[in-house]
């Protein structure tokens, strides 16, 4: 047998072992199909905790598939009959409204609210303390672009109150709210307009709550999808997330402002 043949057969054997290893990793761990939740990566921490608790209490597996809000919205729109999605939890309710407009939502449950705040870069070298400080020469403020809810709501609110034109020359557009926060964290921006629930993930950095941003409020909702193959189970998990004694606890712990939860 030539060395080329040995190498070719060897590569096939290795491929077989690799496929076997991958199959072993993917094997299902239970007889039931899991509840499939498409969620924004920004709500990963509280959602993972709530899903773990739900699995322990109810024995039903929950599979969380994360992405940017617009990305997961696209995915729930591509209905796959062999792998339907059950729930949709984007970073804010504007995406739930878009999904509802497309006929994807059966019902939704409010979970929490978020307020826009200013996350200041570590060290606060520009001495930012109030809104007028943002308008000084040389100050750079990261604001996510209007595709992200905080970016759109902030622009709309500041335009309506006559403050956007003055801030605009200081603004650095970022893709998402987390990118804006990270820009402030590494010092690429002097401050970033982010949700308060995002700002709590940056301990050690000063957070300002200027009255100029008081009207910028985002809402987090979980939607039960019309395509769900097990809508009762999906609704049960949505209610669990909206329960003040269960799911909402994890959201509160992650810095979200939670209300009284879902109606019984």
């Amino acid at each position: 047998m030539s060395r080329t043949t040995v190498a070719a057969v060897g590569s096939l054997a290795v491929l077989g072992l690799l496929v076997g290893g991958l199959w072993w990793r993917q094997r299902d761990t239970g007889p039931d199909r899991p509840l499939v939740v498409y969620a924004a990566a920004a709500v990963r921490v509280p959602l993972e905790a709530a899903a773990r608790d739900y699995e322990a209490e109810h024995g039903r597996r929950v599979e969380l598939r994360f992405g940017a809000s617009e990305d997961v919205l696209t995915k729930v729109g591509l209905v796959n009959p062999s792998d339907p999605a059950d729930l949709f939890l984007p970073a804010d309710d504007s995406y739930v409204r878009l999904a509802r407009d497309r006929g994807l939502v059966a019902e939704s449950f409010p979970l929490a609210t978020m307020r826009a705040v200013l996350l200041v870069a570590p060290g606060n070298s520009k001495g930012l303390a109030a809104w007028p400080d943002l308008l000084r020469d040389g100050v750079r403020v990261a604001v996510s672009n209007p595709a992200a809810a905080v970016g759109k709501l902030t622009r709309d609110h500041l335009a309506a109150t006559g403050r956007w034109a003055a801030l605009k020359p200081r603004v650095a557009d970022t893709g998402t709210v987390t990118e804006a926060a990270n820009a402030a964290k590494v010092g690429a921006a002097d401050a970033a307009v982010v949700w308060d629930a995002v700002a709590v993930n940056y301990p050690g950095q000063k957070v300002l709550t200027p009255p100029e941003l008081a009207g910028v409020v985002g809402r987090v909702e979980v939607a039960v999808l019309a395509q769900s193959a097990d809508r009762d189970a999906a609704r049960a998990f949505a209610r669990y997330l909206a329960d003040p004694e269960r799911g909402l606890k994890t959201f509160r712990a992650a810095g979200f402002t939670v209300g009284s939860g879902a109606p019984p």
């Binding site: 080329t4 590569s11 991958l22 598939r65 062999s82 792998d83």
Partner: protein, 264 residues
Amino acid sequence: MTPGRASAVPFYVALGLLGGLYVGLVAAMLIADLAYTSPGAVGRALASPEVRAAVWLTLLSCSASAVLSLWVGVPLGYLLARTRFPGKAVVDLLVDVPIVLPPLVVGLSLLILFQTPPGLALQQHLTVTYAVPAVVLAQFTVAAAFAVRTMRVTFEQISPRTEDVAMTLGCSRGRAFWLVTLPEARRGVLAAGTLAWARSLGEFGPILVFAGATRMRTEVLSTTVFLELSVGDLEAALAVSVLMIAVAVAVLVLTRALGLREAA
């Protein structure tokens, strides 16, 4: 010093300066990453079951993708380098498409492909989207293009004369390829495999769109970086990035050592 040697000095200095700018940029990036993290942070990342699962899936999927890329890259590279056939220009163009397309478009195209009737029919038997096969397929789609390009250049650089001589001595075309040309191309095969593996390691956009980001299931190391960044945990994201760099360097050093031993 002879006049020739003296006149070559400015030439080499200029080349060194221009090339050094790029090498310096890459080195500076790595140093910045290392400075921002710490061995403790890398250790904490490795202690996480999610990150360990992502390491294993990364190693298995990248290796499977690299082997598959070679099985496609060698025959296609040979055909493009040594033969003329109708539609060769079109094939040549198509092979470049995954290289030039934005990564997100590659992922979206794969996702749409598996929503077509043939794709859905296949998924009745094997779940691809948002599962491990999607990870490998997303990596393979891009990595194979690099393998084909590398193998084409390799075969173009090998003189067809030895293969012709083997045929005049009674070998069939296939046997001459198997016993003469392919052994001559072994360093190219190694380079193509290494490049395909490294390209698979760095793949992110197509995986996020086509395979999703499900923890412990379709999460590779690049997905972990995204998930940590999404919740503002820059330290964890950089720790995983450093881990990726370490894995990549280990594989590149190993394959180059094997290649040198082979050459010796």
